[in-house]
């Protein structure tokens, strides 16, 4: 049986400062090595000062992933030499003598299957190495320490995934959840990274590292599965090893360094005393936790009779659910939900568009009101949406400026119909003989009115004129 496990790293970018100093957690806007201080540079004599807010954020992640959260947590040193690591050890967490990391033994439900979360730990991100000329064969390696010390949460799953698709669904759920908690921005470049481990029936476990994006992760897992299956078919043993994802060639390559043999000599980081997480704190975190995606979905379905697929889409995206929550009222919730999933999503399909779009919940409720009052047609609403997105002007102004108001006045429509009957004599004859061709005439009226004519009324009036 195929077994896939994940190790996900997620930066707590919503925090103000780094894990052990007051440098910015959002290092991205700085010139290289301009977001550093003696503490995150590990200068001799400096000491870490634990960011208590990071402990809270990590604890709330653990809670949202249904983990056990211990009363006391501790930090450990993971000792290894690497140029991006200022102290040549990383301050992280470990569960060796019981539960000492922020959480463990949790789960996430993916398509009805429970994916177990083995542990969640809070740790510092290292700096970044930049190979000049973007090749690891060049002589010069540059080090940027701006990222060093950024609060990072590591989430380790059991090898519960059966295929790469499940992994993708899980990662979508997880990143929605982290965003929904307000602790991370998974969309930021490098803010969320994942390593995988893969084994097939009868084979050893292979770890894959150095995967740049979730998109590549799925590719890497596919490649690795195919590689292992083809070895297995030829009776070649699958070696237990660490492989690196080659981004350029889109294949995994065996790492020459024996990382699995590396001894990190873990021991307690005594510069940070044990952190007590009082019951009060945990209760408060639980209370202030945003509604989970699954309970949101359930509420939408039960309370408003929204289709489960529609509810799922809205509940799992912070942006859409915010729009929905702000716009709905008892009588129009279903319409609002449908408007979001049929039209809004088409226009606002990326995070960037979410950021630049000027749509507010008020716009949506106004549009639905207008449709229901037959002031505009659905088609016109779609046109209006595009304009609202760009200008943000209120719905009435836009309908007026774009002349999108629905024509339902019988005399006005009749005048247009008479004109059409004049112009399309053959079609009128056809329609009289074969009533099913009447839609052609309706279409002509819509064309003439730029889609503003009330279609039901138009059909009614045409039929009665044909019978005259």
């Amino acid at each position: 049986m195929t077994k896939i496990g994940l190790e996900i790293h997620c930066q707590l970018t919503k925090l103000e400062s780094k894990l052990f100093c007051s440098c910015k957690a959002n290092y991205r806007e700085f010139e290289p090595n301009h977001n550093i201080c003696p503490v995150c540079m590990g200068l001799p004599g400096s000491l870490p000062r634990l960011n208590q807010k990071a402990v809270k954020s990590a604890t709330s992640i653990a809670m949202a992933l249904n983990c056990q959260t211990p009363e006391k947590i501790a930090f450990f040193r993971k000792n290894y030499f690497y140029p991006d690591l200022p102290k040549n050890f990383q301050i992280t967490q470990l569960n060796v003598y019981g539960d000492m990391s922020v959480g463990g033994e949790g789960y996430v439900e993916v398509e009805g299957k429970k994916i177990k979360i083995r542990r969640i730990q809070l740790e510092e991100d290292p700096g970044r190495l930049i190979y000049e000329g973007a090749s690891d064969r060049t002589k010069i390696t540059l080090v940027d320490y701006n990222r060093a010390g950024t609060p990072l949460v590591e989430i380790v799953t059991d090898p519960d995934f059966e295929n790469p698709r499940q992994v993708r669904v899980f990662l979508n759920i997880l990143s929605d959840l982290l965003e929904n908690l307000g602790v991370a921005e998974p969309g930021l470049e490098g803010a969320m990274r994942a390593d995988g481990n893969v084994s097939i029936e009868g084979g050893n476990k292979v770890e894959i590292k150095n995967i740049g994006s979730f998109h590549d992760l799925e590719k890497a897992l596919h490649f690795e599965l195919t590689r292992q299956q083809s070895l297995s078919e030829r009776d070649i043993e699958i070696a237990m090893e660490t492989r690196h994802w080659d981004d350029r060639r889109k294949i995994t390559i065996s790492s020459r360094s024996k990382e699995e043999d590396q001894d990190y000599r873990y021991f307690l980081e005594n510069d940070i005393p044990w952190v007590k997480i009082e019951q009060d704190t945990r209760d408060a975190l639980k209370e202030n936790m945003p509604e989970s995606i699954s309970s949101k979905k359930e509420r939408y379905v039960k309370k408003f009779d929204i289709a489960p697929q529609v509810a799922e889409i809205i509940a799992s995206d912070r942006y859409y659910s915010k729009l929905f929550e702000g716009a709905y009222s008892e009588h129009n919730a279903k319409d609002i939900a449908n408007l979001i999933t049929t039209d809004v999503i088409g226009f606002i399909d990326t995070k960037e568009k979410q950021q630049t779009s000027k749509i507010t919940p008020k716009h949506l409720s106004d549009l639905i009101d207008a449709i229901n009052a037959k002031t505009i047609t659905r088609n016109s609403a779609k046109v209006a949406l595009q304009e609202i997105m760009k200008s943000g002007k209120d719905t009435k102004t836009i309908l007026k400026e774009m002349d999108l108001g629905q024509v339902s006045d019988s005399s006005e429509i009749n005048a247009i119909i008479s004109q059409i009957f004049e112009d399309e004599k053959q079609a009128v004859i056809d329609a009289k003989e074969r009533p099913e061709t009447v839609n052609f005439l309706v279409g002509k009226v819509m064309q003439k009115t730029k889609g503003k004519a009330d279609p039901t009324k138009t059909l009614e009036l045409i039929k009665s004129k044909l019978n005259q």
Partner: protein, 481 residues
Amino acid sequence: MNLNTSILQYIEDVKSGSFTSEEFVTETLQRIKDVDENVHAYLSLNDSAINDAKSIDKKISSGEKVGKCYGFPISIKDNICITGMKTTCASKILENFIAPYTATVVNHLNDEDAVITGKTNLDEFAMGLTTEFSAFGPTKNPWNLDCVPGGSSGGSAASVAANECLASLGSDTGGSVRNPASFCSVVGLKPTYGLISRYGLISYANSIEQIGPMTKNVKDSAFLLNVISGQDVNDDTTIDNKNPDYLQDIESGIEGKKIGIIKEMTNDGLSSEVSIATKESIQDFESLGASCDEISLPTIPYTVAAYYTITSTEAGSNLARYDNIRYGYEMESEGYEYNSYISKSRMKFGPEVTRRIILGGFVPSAGHAGKYFLKALKVKSKLISEINNAFEKFDYLIAPTAPVQPFQFGEKIDDPVTLMLLDYNTVTANLTGKPAISVPYRVSNGLPIGMQIMANSLEEKSLFQAAYALENKTKLPEVPL
């Protein structure tokens, strides 16, 4: 002007106008010029010491608010950072390191208007007991220049003993304040873990080490503790001591107090001079109205092994940052792969540091941790419960600070195990976090002997009372230098 004076006497004299800070500091710098060629207590001097003294004098004469130190000269061990000055740890790898920040303790001293004379010698990265492991040459004992001053704060102890300053700050990981204090006949305090901020102290074994004052007498030690102790936002391990006045009630004596004489520290291994002094000190304590009883702490014989296991593990990690990339030796990296470069450059550490880094790579490693590192942690927690039990019965636990008197250079340096045993009586206070003080007690054959008193956590006030009482029972000669 007598340079062999105390901080408290100095403050009286400056307040009464007998001399100014500038005059005293100038005289002290002259003394350094005269004797330090032989003693080698200092690694570097503060160029602005006289200017600092002048501006403090100006505050005093103009009636402006002046800090409680009144410009007395103090030296600082060279593993404590002061911005603008080199902090070398007596190591070639930090030979030119200038920290961009100042240690919290030094900030406290500056705030209270002390004058920093300079940075004092130590064993490389504070690892050693004789100062012979300094990369810049050993410090000599002012009582006998052929003898070691103790270590690792040997430069600090010698600078105080030789009147090259009125006090010094050292650091104590396993006895590094108390041992040289004993060897040089000065008072050395290792406070409760967390009482003094370590921010700016370059870590060797951060779970057990503390900065400590080294002074001419017990009252000066209490005075300095008032200045440098207290919670610090830059050090998460500091504790709130509610800032008591350690000088208050210091003369109240120890009548009726119970003293435990630690059997394992007073039986075997003591030189006859130290053994005699120990017996005499017990008589002195009893004459002061305290009752003395022997107590056995059966874990003590394992403490030195546990101490070196724990400290090497932490040292191996704390010193990993010296990878010769951002600071270090002059060494061309051309032609080296990363790991081979740093391993080559790190071979330039001195022998004791190298020994402990190697040990620190071994004892916590997979497959060995259970046999060594984890066992050492067990010894530590067993020792803590033994000591806590002892303090239910006793107010103080005593023993000689060092089992022997100062010895000659080269005598023990090639025998690391014998050297390590010099720590036998001092490491317990570090492993348990308890405060301990070394009080000058005898000078026998021209060489000092110090007595160590240990108290329960945060009982520094009581500890000073006992130390002050013992100090008053003895009259010691002046240093012959």
